[in-house]
């Protein structure tokens, strides 16, 4: 491990500047340190000081990355840093907290911060939809299921099991492998995003992009200069160009609703004769047998077909 880090440091020092925002060697070092921090931070049944160290490492890395990007701050404002910091810290807490309800609540925090980022990108409708659908609907469902499926703590010595975490929440599975794979992917992704020379060169001269945009103009109506609110534009775009997709989305939601009801129903699968057997016993006293209103039995008779009143 030490050898690897020193090698990475050597690469970082010797790496030629390729014109990107962050050099490849630096990204390698950052990813390695991030993986180590994440391994320490993930719940592994260990004591808390190590996890605190891991959290501090990750926070420091986030600050380093922000400083590296912030020295060329152009086009992003103060609120971008605030919102993205909240979103990322919340996301890390989602996957490292040992209590599921807290994870869900931290996810709400992440969703709110992402909505803030969407507002910064002029996507007001999407921000509102994110808050309504994610924080309002999906997360409430998650919290419901967490409450519904709350497990009985298996006794334990103390008996006050409410404060101890369950084993499968407190011990994560393969933290080293997962962190290595995840941060390798992150390093490659950030390398592709930042280390593209054309990106930064074009960013130096802002007019270059607008010139190239003039060469190949997008003539779709959505690309016309925005005059009204973004929501109005989005609605017009959706119903002009994406009608079939909208209908398909509605269909998918309907099918998902039906499927969820079928899946979560209790006692769906029974054979035919079992159902017929149950029919004799499970009919409630006041259940009508057929469409004849006189077949509605009177309370007090055992046999629902026996009428307790005289025929008229």
């Amino acid at each position: 491990m030490i050898g690897l880090i020193s090698y990475a440091l050597g690469v970082a020092v010797a790496a030629p500047r390729t014109g990107g925002l962050v050099s490849a060697g630096l990204l390698l070092v950052l990813s390695l340190a991030g993986a180590v921090g994440m391994i320490l931070l993930l719940p592994g049944g260990r004591d808390t000081p190590l996890r605190k160290i891991g959290g501090a490492v990750l926070l420091a890395l986030l600050l380093v990355l922000a400083a590296l990007l912030g020295k060329t701050a152009a086009g992003v404002g103060f609120y971008f840093w605030i919102f993205s910091a909240i979103a990322l810290v919340g996301a890390v807490r989602v996957i490292t907290h040992t209590k599921p309800v807290y994870s869900a609540l931290y996810f709400v925090l992440t969703v709110m911060a992402s909505a803030g980022l969407f507002v910064l990108m002029w996507a007001e409708f999407m921000a509102a939809a994110l808050v309504l659908i994610y924080a309002g609907a999906i997360l409430v469902t998650y919290v419901f299921v967490i409450m519904l499926a709350s497990e009985a703590h298996e006794g334990g010595a103390g008996g006050t099991g409410a404060e101890t975490d369950l084993d499968h929440d407190a011990v994560s599975r393969e933290p080293i492998l997962a962190s290595a794979a995840g941060f390798a992917l992150l390093g490659v992704l950030l390398f592709v995003i930042f280390d593209k020379p054309s990106f930064s060169r074009a960013a130096d001269s802002m007019s270059a992009r607008s010139a190239s945009a003039k060469v190949a103009p997008d003539i779709s109506p959505a690309n016309q200069p925005v005059m009204q609110g973004g929501t109005q534009q989005l609605g017009a775009y959706l119903f002009d160009h994406q009608v079939i997709n909208l209908e398909l989305a509605g269909l998918i939601l309907t099918i998902a609703m039906v499927g969820a009801i079928v899946i979560a129903r209790r006692g769906v699968w029974r054979s035919g004769e079992a159902l017929r057997e149950m029919g004799e016993t499970l009919v409630a006293p006041a259940t009508p047998i057929d469409d004849n209103p006189h077949s509605i039995p009177v309370v007090g008779t055992d046999n629902p077909r026996q009428k307790a009143y005289p025929e008229t």
Binding site: V94, M121, I133, Y142, G182, S200
Partner: protein, 107 residues
């Protein structure tokens, strides 16, 4: 209100945030053992992708990114309802949320 298009540098910043969020969700998906948290981590990955899509839509000045995010939200809602139904079903059978209990599904 006049809307300037986004510079490439700002696009890179937003893409970086989306990538980091996606990877955090991925790590959580691989490491957590609670079934509900596993599905919560997929939602986290959806968030990262949505940030990417909206940043690209803003960068090119069109609405394709936002429209795509709407459909991503639809799929996320459908996936959440179905997945939570499945989780409730699985919980009824073994009365635990541990994913390792269902190890035999590995084959």
């Amino acid at each position: 209100m006049p809307r300037k298009s986004m510079s490439e540098l700002a696009l890179q910043h937003y893409l970086a945030v989306g990538a980091i969020m996606f990877v955090i969700g991925l790590i959580g998906f691989m490491t957590r053992r609670n079934l509900i948290i596993i599905f919560l981590c997929t939602e986290l990955m959806f968030q990262g992708v949505a940030i990417n899509l909206i940043a690209f839509g803003r960068y090119w000045g069109n609405l394709h990114g936002q429209a795509f995010v709407i459909f991503v939200l639809v799929i996320a809602a459908a996936e959440a309802s179905l997945a939570l139904g499945l989780v409730v079903l699985l919980f009824r059978q073994k009365s635990t949320l541990d994913a390792n209990v269902w190890r035999e599904l590995r084959g």
